[in-house]
Subunit: 211 residues, 2 copies
DNA sequence: CGGCTCTTTTCGGGTCACCTAAATATCTGC
DNA sequence: GCAGATATTTAGGTGACCCGAAAAGAGCCG
């Protein structure tokens, strides 16, 4: 059973959904994230099930099998390594890499990917703070809290900013927030080194802090 | 009329055929080069004709329209720049780049391609000696002879070695022949700096010399 | 627990790029 | 200039992946 770009995208999306929260993904959410009709998801999920890549009972959420997860991690690795590479070597800003990586992850050969990985010094996190699985599919796990759910007064480091919305990413960057920064959760925003910082609308839903 | 990888491959292949010889390509040759059935070519050529990319009357050869050539040159540029980049930056050998470039040429964005071009210093020839069209589609043209058709005693520089057959490329490299070298055509092979060099079978059909 | 809503699936279709087999046009040698 | 060989086109499919409309299941509220 050979893979295809479409299949890889499904697996990656299912995986990504559970990476920073625990509920498994439902078909409608999967459809929304992939930008396709729910009926198409039903069909494809059936195929993935037949290939042993996902477990799925009708009208229930979709989960990856171990083999499905293995392949998903492979794609996540590709995506994040490529994003890192575009930022480090080609002067892309962290909010500009997602789309290009979305395409290249399907077409760069294993060989080139390995050279890229080596050249970057086998990075363990991408520019958004997401961990990059190693070639064996092992991922670093860190304890985290979503900013929207962190109590006021919580102190931590900005671990990750979701790369789903480039516009929001730019606003967040404009507000002076960067991955790796030490921050403190204020009643209505963040404090960086004691200085309060106003957050763009929706930002608390895409910023993760260390626990 | 959006492009597709398939369409781009047709245009590029039609263009490539007339680049180093003059007869326009026939459907069967096109099918052979693309590795698909002749009937598929008929169908696709009809579509390309409807889009104004090729001129074709039934049972005749296929020619590019100006617009078709423009797009073909765009693809040729992509292919050759990517090949050059893989050799210069990622340590690929000149016989290893073709396949990777074949895929990446369809998926690298204009923006990344431009950065690659700039980083390489806007090269005008690729590792096989093929000229790289500039962003406006202008190509360097050089007077050339196919080795198989050069008279014994002819002296010239190795301009180009076709990249179609990686195995043959390796044999040619193994024989000590490289792009840019000054050579002399001997009755049964080549002379490099007076030393006769034996040629692998078929090599004379893929090596071009300056006229 | 019955009805209403929202989610998911089923069903019939569509496009793209490919295929094989069969028909037809062109070319070549005599 | 005609027969046979060869090239090309037509006709009828196929597999991926997607769609919208309609049917069916699941969840919830009174």
């Amino acid at each position: 059973m050979p893979n295809s770009p479409a299949i890889d995208d499904y697996l990656k999306t299912v995986y990504a959904h559970t990476e920073w929260q625990d509920a498994p993904i439902t078909p409608s959410v999967l459809a929304a994230k992939l930008g396709i009709a729910p009926s198409s998801v039903t069909e494809m999920v059936k195929k993935l099930g037949a290939q042993g890549l996902v477990a799925h009972e009708p009208y229930r959420a979709v989960r990856l099998t171990p083999e499905g997860e293995r392949r998903a991690l492979e794609m996540v690795r590709r995506h994040r390594l490529i994003e890192t590479w575009l930022v480090e070597e080609y002067g892309y800003a962290w909010d500009e890499v997602h789309e290009e990586a979305e395409v290249l992850e399907h077409t760069i050969s294993d060989r080139l990917l390995e050279k890229i990985d080596a050249r970057l010094g086998r990075p363990r996190f991408d520019p958004h703070g997401d961990p990059i699985p190693d070639a064996a599919g092992v991922v670093e796990r860190v304890r985290f809290v979503l900013l929207a759910e962190a109590p006021a007064g919580h102190e931590g480091r900005v671990l990750r900013v979701s790369d789903r919305d480039p516009g929001l990413l730019r606003l967040i960057e404009g507000a002076g927030i960067a991955v790796g920064q030490d921050v403190r959760v204020a009643p209505a925003g963040l404090e960086i080194a004691g200085t309060p910082v106003a957050l763009p609308a929706g930002a608390a839903e895409v910023i993760w802090l260390s626990a």
